[in-house]
């Protein structure tokens, strides 16, 4: 009888240790994030609570970004590909544009889809975007007061226009913006700050830890 009790206790201790090893120990970062509304890449209204139950990796950027955004989305593509299929189902990669005037839902969908069709692009009114930026204490700044012809920008997925003349006349602003990748748990709490310098395997382990919570 005693042997049975001891064996049960050992199993329980082992189970507790395994659970601790697999679950995340990342702390909640108080005050970073919160509930918001936006427009998704299909033009539909979306609430941040729609992501509840999924681990989220959230990034800020814009489609005319010539350097860090394509690099970041390429990194996120590798990160997502490193997850198992069932883990991908529980993970959302969310890209919030900081230039909602230019990045219409349709254009954002084409840009995001260039990297992965599962990725979620968020746009909205300027007020909605600024609120999301403030919730995550992110930043963005226009690089100049003048807009520049977009054909002069090296872009991975140019906006589509009805005719060539319209494409030639197309102009947009350039911005600098926060490069942080925010890792959110299934309840929407920010649990870690990462960037494209984080080794992909390390990032995947953090996502797994949050999925297993």
């Amino acid at each position: 009888m005693l042997k049975l009790v001891l064996f049960s206790m050992l199993l329980l201790i082992n189970a507790a240790n395994v659970a601790n090893a697999e679950e995340s120990t990342l702390p909640i970062l108080s005050g970073i994030g919160g509930e918001f509304s936006a427009i998704d890449a299909d033009g539909k209204a979306i609430e941040s609570t729609d992501f509840t139950g999924n681990v989220v990796v959230l990034a800020f950027g814009y489609t005319n970004c010539a350097d860090i955004c394509p690099f970041t989305l390429g990194y996120l593509k590798r990160l997502y590909a490193g997850l198992r299929a069932e883990e991908q189902q529980q993970t959302r990669i969310v890209f919030v544009t900081i230039d909602p005037e230019y990045d219409t839902p349709g254009h954002l969908k084409g840009f995001i889809g260039h990297f992965n069709k599962d990725f979620v692009g968020l746009s909205g009114t300027q007020e909605q975007i600024d609120y999301i930026v403030s919730l995550y204490q992110a930043e963005y700044k226009p690089l100049s007061v003048l807009e520049i012809p977009t054909q002069n920008i090296r872009r991975v997925n140019p906006k589509l226009f009805a005719d060539e003349q319209e494409a030639k006349e197309d102009k947009a602003s350039l911005f600098s913006h926060t490069v942080t990748l925010y890792l959110l748990d299934k309840e929407g709490y920010t649990r870690s700050l990462e960037y494209t310098g984080t080794p992909v395997n390390e990032f995947i382990e953090k996502i797994r830890g949050l999925i297993n919570e």
């Binding site: 009790v5 970062l29 108080s30 005050g31 919160g34 942080t180 700050l193």
Partner: protein, 293 residues
């Protein structure tokens, strides 16, 4: 024999499960003790500089007169040049060491100073005001290199207030006397911003709401900025505080807290808090987190 083995196994199991919560409780004990001890030490030095400053801690020790008589008369100001804290003895005893330069006028009216290293040994019952058990000191060689910064008594008052407020937030409710809090704790509005949550209400009400996010943990002061206005009748303190602990669901939480505290100096020189604004900032975790590209 069998029952002893079983007891040990049960203890091991309970120990594994409780390790995390013990860590939080140790943090509460450490930060509340630290904040309260610093507040007492600030009150000690302030009472040497400002003869009107009331001594707010227990001075019933048998060597009280000896401890106080060592200091010179006519102290003009005291400069704190270093501090250190170590835990000694059982879990409730700490040694708080200070290095101070004491500036005073001698009998001929000449400016003099002496440098001391003082060791305050405290007994700190959990979530209670620390008790000074002993003070030992060494007088150092006079060092003319000490730069006189003209620190007045408000230097210590600001820190006494700030640390006692943090000790109060940590759970030492009896710290109210150290921050002259009997009235303003009822009256002053407290604004809180945590992400999308924004509310303004009484201090007790806001602290109750705050408990959902910062349920059990400890506050560590990282910096103080003091702005004085209106011929020094109004003071704004900007405190940057690090908080670690857990939320109401028992999940680990860290916070970088900015508090803007508006204070008014009353006719009788006492301080009254006019308002408190708190917001939670991006914690300083990664060197690149402020970069824009």
């Amino acid at each position: 024999m069998k029952s002893n083995v079983l007891r040990i196994m049960i203890l091991l199991f309970v120990g594994a499960v409780n390790a995390a919560s013990t860590e939080v409780e140790e943090r509460v004990a450490y930060t509340s003790s630290l904040n309260a001890m610093v507040s007492v030490v600030m009150n000690w030095y302030d009472s040497l500089v400002d003869s009107n400053q009331v001594i707010l801690f227990d001075k019933s020790g048998s060597n009280w007169d000896d401890y106080r008589s060592i200091y010179p008369n006519n102290i003009s100001h005291i400069e704190l040049t270093g501090t250190d804290l170590i835990k000694i003895g059982d879990n409730t005893q700490y040694q708080f060491t200070t290095q101070v330069a004491i500036f005073y006028n001698d009998n001929d009216g000449k400016n003099q100073h002496q440098q001391l290293t003082e060791h305050f040994v405290f007994d700190v019952p959990f979530l209670q005001i620390p008790i000074i058990k002993t003070i030992t000191r060494q007088q150092l060689e006079q060092n003319t290199a000490v730069v006189k910064q003209e620190l007045n008594s408000s230097y210590f008052k600001v820190r006494q207030f700030s640390y006692s407020w943090l000790a109060y937030l940590d759970g030492i409710s009896t710290m109210t006397d150290f921050m002259n809090g009997s009235d303003w704790l009822q009256d002053a509005p407290y604004s809180l911003k945590i992400g999308g949550l924004e509310l303004t209400d009484s201090i007790s009400s806001v602290l109750l709401q705050r408990k959902k996010y910062l349920a059990k943990g400890g506050h560590k002061l990282r910096s103080i900025d003091v702005q004085q206005h209106d011929e020094d009748k109004n003071i704004t303190l900007n405190l940057i505080i690090e908080w670690r602990g857990e939320n109401a669901q028992g999940k680990p939480v860290i916070a970088k807290i900015h508090q803007e505290i508006a204070l008014k100096i009353m006719e009788n020189s006492s301080w009254k808090v006019v308002s408190i604004k708190e917001e939670h900032l991006l914690p300083d975790l990664k060197p690149w987190q402020g970069y824009l590209c």
